[in-house]
Symmetry: C2
Subunit: 205 residues, 2 copies
């Protein structure tokens, strides 16, 4: 695990972009310049990023598209399906459950949790909404490592604690709060309002 974390986060994010470009590329080979152009970075950056994962490509030929794609997927843990649970069945949680991008990329939502008695037991886009007391068993049963938190700010830390206790190692957090987690758990926070706020700074008069 420690070794993984030496790859800088911006590199990882770019690598995921490169993966998509490779998937949509029809030719047998692709140059770093071609990847760079679509990704909106320069070719040297592409070569540097790929070097984190090993030696790829040949001067004058470029990369073998399928080979590079397969190697990157494997090294990034994206070569097999990954189970995810969603906590929070409000408007955002519902949208996330229905988000085609997750399914297309091999993420399979296995359970949806909400502690609102009015929601528990109802179905949401094919999923039965379960109360939090079923969180631990469900996560263990499906061997889930990833969770999405889409609950209000005040509930988010308790939900994170319960998920981690149940064995979750990666959390995608949509609640506007900084979660405290152990060192072996990774959190990525998507704070939608924060993003709009920084845009407001740029566009203000």
């Amino acid at each position: 695990m420690a070794e993984h974390k030496q790859i800088p986060d911006p590199t990882l994010l770019r690598m995921c972009r490169y993966l998509r470009i490779l998937e949509r590329h029809d030719d047998a080979t692709i140059s770093s310049a071609a990847i760079a152009e679509v990704a909106g970075v320069n070719a040297a950056q592409v070569r540097k990023d790929l070097s984190f994962f090993g030696e790829f490509g040949q001067p004058g030929v470029g990369y073998h598209t399928k080979e590079l794609l397969a190697s990157l997927k494997r090294m990034m843990g994206l070569d097999e399906e990954m189970e995810v649970v969603v906590v929070g069945a409000g408007a955002l949680g519902s949208a996330l459950i229905n988000y085609p991008g997750f399914d297309n990329r091999g993420f399979r939502i296995v359970a949806v949790f909400d502690n609102n008695p009015a929601k528990v037991g109802h179905r949401l886009r094919g999923y039965e909404i379960m109360a939090f007391d079923r969180l631990k068993d469900t996560i263990a049963e499906h061997n889930v490592s990833l969770a999405i938190i889409a609950v209000p700010r005040t509930a988010a830390q308790a939900v994170a604690d319960a998920l981690i206790e149940a064995g979750v190692k990666g959390i995608l957090n949509f609640a506007p709060v900084t979660l405290k987690v152990p060192d072996d758990v990774v959190v990525r926070s998507v704070d939608l309002t924060l993003q709009l706020e920084t845009l407001a700074y740029y566009v203000r008069d």
Copy 2:
């Protein structure tokens, strides 16, 4: 405008977090250490970030909470309401329209657009869904600078072009594509799948 862009993006994101901490702080003063603890950074970072915006606080006293809050809000363009349009009335667009965080922070959605004839004219959470041909007039009428793009990948660039032509200067983009925009337009992309993918890297066996 050029001057704005000298503040690094990570600093801006942290500043938005500090704003929230200040809003929830009941005491008349607050120390950089107290801000730092809640924000999950160190106190030196807080002081350095705030120094981008001017001189605040006194040694041994800390910052005057309300004064610092008002100054930061003003300097970040968050002291007055800001109009936003949403393009895309699918599951994600609907969730965003209903997202309480935007409204709470002074962002007011003034219009929702979608080009699906089955949707145009219908109401979505109080908003009439309008076709793209009304985009330009609506943006001009409300003097809108900010837009949220929640359309499929293949439609995103054309939507961005139309928004920019209509006068939008800041775009929050949820489509998994790198948008090409002029230098005076700022884009922040939130790629939900990308975030999950980088988590997969950390939690893979």
